[in-house]
Amino acid sequence: MEDCSVGVRSGRGRAIVAGWPEKVPGLMEALAETIGASLRDVTRIESLEKEVILLKNRVAVLEGQAPVLVPIESLAPDPYEIIKPFHVVVRVQDGECIASFFDARISASGDTQEEAVFNLKDMVVSVFDILCGRSEDDLGPGPAHQKKVLQDFIRRKD
């Protein structure tokens, strides 16, 4: 910053800088540069703020769609017990939640993640009952595989 005290004389409380008219253009230029730099900073910060908001929204959407792994350790109140706990994957697709027990190739839908998991557990016991009521000869490859997998994970309570 320029030293304005040079050539100053006081009179009636007012300070007058000697040769100030020559300094005005330079000062104005410096002021314009300072204001310009501040405006550039403000513009840059506003632009970054908008980017951050967009990224936050994007992250929120991605977090909402990210598959969730849910451990299944109980089938209560249904009369079945878990031999070996298993995980189901819940994913969001077109605004709908789908829970899948991939090993057993069983899936169910729901309006929420909780509902999808509830529905999947309901499906698991229903399918298990249906498959156990049939002999191996009555099952095609898909259901035969499902039966084998389900028998590894759940059983009916005696």
Partner: protein, 91 residues
């Protein structure tokens, strides 16, 4: 918006000549048989609205969402579906 709605799920069950039986608390189960054997099953949410989502069905009947939709909408026949899942070793 779901690709497979409950209305479409019921049409798929009908197209595949599935036997729909009562399942657990929340579902009816559509059981599809071929050659005297059960080859697939899928759940139909009980009590839900006609436009409720059933996008879990394609994987249950071993096809993609597009083919599942075509099954419900008519262009794909039961025989076409049998052909598709036969190629996948599901019959």
């Amino acid at each position: 918006m779901a690709i497979i709605t409950k209305d479409l799920a019921l049409k798929i069950a009908k197209k595949l000549k599935a036997e729909v039986v009562k399942g657990g608390r929340a579902h009816d189960i559509a059981i599809v048989e071929h050659g005297g054997k059960m080859v697939a099953q899928f759940g139909i949410r009980r009590g839900s609205k006609g436009d409720s989502g059933h996008d879990h069905i394609p994987s249950q009947i071993f096809v993609g969402p597009r083919d599942a939709r075509l099954l419900g909408q008519c262009p794909l026949s039961r025989e076409d579906w049998i052909g598709i899942i036969s190629e996948k070793g599901m019959i």
